[in-house]
């Protein structure tokens, strides 16, 4: 591991200016992903600026009926929060489906959003990877790509975003509160992560030195009827092959009044399934309509050698999850 300087900023502005002064510095929060990447030599910062104690570690109700989650709230505290469990169950379920008890106790909300892909080639410094070493090529294109993206990928990168939490937050229309040198702003979570395009080394739209301080969940009544379903190769403690976060409101007449749908494990970012949502609104909720809506979302899928199974898997998980919600399961 390359030597680095460790510093603990006194406050948020101090942390932001510490990064501004050092182009090869990075924030450290829980460290569950970053420390591993330091060991692997994938990340080699000169300076670690510890922000774990700087941002809020509580979940607060907002005057407009929403909820603000401090960036330092651990994954386990967020999953166990009573307000989240009753009003946004999809978020608790997503968090509980990820990692292990030990990891959830250290991992933070801000850090979870900014964790890196688990693409094996990105994590292996002996192989080419455009994300790690721009221009070196993408080993996954011709390599083992069972876990890789089916939507929104590019010829430069087919990595997927590993977070479960962010998929749920995407379905919930969350906003990310970001502080930088020019003050604070809120961005829709859909605009935080990006598709790889021809700059796969950029995971997010944040600029160097911008710090996530909180995540806001807006008031969303249908979120009380929401669910996270994750398919993986083990019963526990594994990343998603495909996951679905969904919230559903079905009217008395059996038609979809409103729906939120996001997919994990399929793209470089949590994938908001807006086309499927659009296709479902106002339609009777039944298997045929759900399949058709899922197919519309997945029709642009581009497949690699090993990941074609993700298309029928995603479709089936979308259908099952929404049927469960419709039937109150």
């Amino acid at each position: 591991m390359k030597p680095y300087r460790y510093q603990r900023a006194r406050d948020i502005p101090g942390a932001i200016s510490a990064l501004a002064e050092e182009p090869n510095a990075t924030f450290l929060a829980g460290g569950t992903n970053l420390v591993d990447l330091l060991k692997l030599g994938v990340m080699e910062p000169e300076v670690l600026v510890d922000v774990r104690r700087l941002t809020s570690d509580s979940v607060e109700e907002l005057p407009d009926g929403g909820v603000r989650i401090g960036a330092a709230v651990t994954n386990s505290n967020l999953a166990a929060d009573r307000t989240i469990r009753s009003r946004y169950p999809v978020l608790s379920e997503a968090l509980l489906s990820g990692a292990s008890g030990q990891l959830r106790n250290l991992a933070t909300t801000g850090g979870n959003l900014l964790q890196h892909t688990r693409c094996v080639y990105w994590q292996d410094t002996t192989t080419p990877c455009n994300k790690r070493e721009p221009g070196s090529g993408c080993s996954a294109l011709e390599g083992h790509n069972k876990n890789h993206a089916i939507l929104g990928a590019s010829e430069h990168c087919v990595a997927t975003h590993p977070s479960d939490m962010a998929v749920a937050m995407t379905a919930l229309d969350a906003f990310v509160v970001v502080q930088g040198r020019n003050g604070e702003h809120r961005i829709p979570i859909e605009e935080l992560h990006r598709l790889p395009g021809d700059e796969p080394w950029r995971d997010t739209t944040l600029e160097h030195g911008e710090l996530i301080t909180a995540v806001d969940l807006p008031l969303l009544d249908l979120a009380a009827n929401s669910k996270y379903r994750k398919v993986r190769e083990r019963a526990s403690y594994a990343f998603a092959l495909v996951s679905v976060a969904a919230a559903l409101d079905v009217g008395e007449d059996g038609t979809v009044r409103d729906v939120r749908l996001a997919l994990g494990g399929v793209a470089h970012k949590p994938w908001r399934a807006t086309k499927a949502e659009e296709a479902l609104r106002g339609e009777p909720i039944n298997k045929a309509n759900l399949r058709a809506a899922a197919d519309i979302e997945l029709e642009d899928a581009e497949l690699l050698r090993d990941n074609a199974f993700k298309v029928p898997l995603a479709r089936n998980v979308i259908v099952r999850t929404l049927l469960d919600l419709a039937e109150g399961r």
Partner: protein, 173 residues
């Protein structure tokens, strides 16, 4: 680059100078000679290095020593009260919940932390009612909640029964 830190382990404070790259696991084992936290994978995947930090179980291999100074650390050795055995220690022995024993300290610390989480009402991904006030630690719950601890000897069946008995005993008290 080196930094001077204080860490509190099993009730005792230690002042030491560490390289900023040192994990809590390496500080405990290599610098303080506290070897009950084991180095298995060193990547947060096996749980052999599990310790309690401020009462919660974590992987000490992914925690930098400089980042967690001044927080109370408890290892499998420190669980023992008055030099005796913790009920979880005893239960592992009674249920023969290990073979080679390498993962055992991590399993025991993790189990103790897990019981505390369950008694705080934390749900898991197999909890049927997310809103439940009380968690019933059926075997399925124990397996899910202990999935961060691997046992290459596969002593899982006896590990689950050792934890189950301790959990029941605590509930009866």
């Amino acid at each position: 680059m080196e930094q001077e830190i204080t860490i509190k382990v099993d009730g005792t404070g230690h002042r030491l100078t560490v390289d900023t790259r040192t994990t809590l696991l390496d500080a405990l084992r290599e610098r303080l000679g506290i070897t009950s936290p084991k180095k298995g994978c060193d990547h947060g995947q096996c749980g052999a290095c599990t310790i309690l930090l401020a009462g919660r179980r974590i992987n000490s291999c992914l925690a930098l020593a400089v980042a967690f100074e001044d927080e109370e650390i408890v290892t499998a050795e420190g669980l023992a009260e008055d030099g005796g055995l913790h009920p979880m220690h005893r239960s592992f022995i009674e249920h023969d919940a290990f073979q080679c024993g390498y993962c055992t300290p991590g399993q025991i610390v993790s189990a103790v932390g897990m019981l505390e989480e369950a008694s705080s009402g934390w749900p898991s991904s197999v909890t049927a009612d997310l809103d439940a006030d009380e968690i019933v630690l059926a075997d399925e719950e124990i397996r899910e909640r202990m999935s961060g601890n691997l046992c290459r000897c596969a002593a899982y069946v006896n590990i689950v029964s050792a934890i189950s008995e301790t959990a029941g005993g605590e509930a009866r008290r």
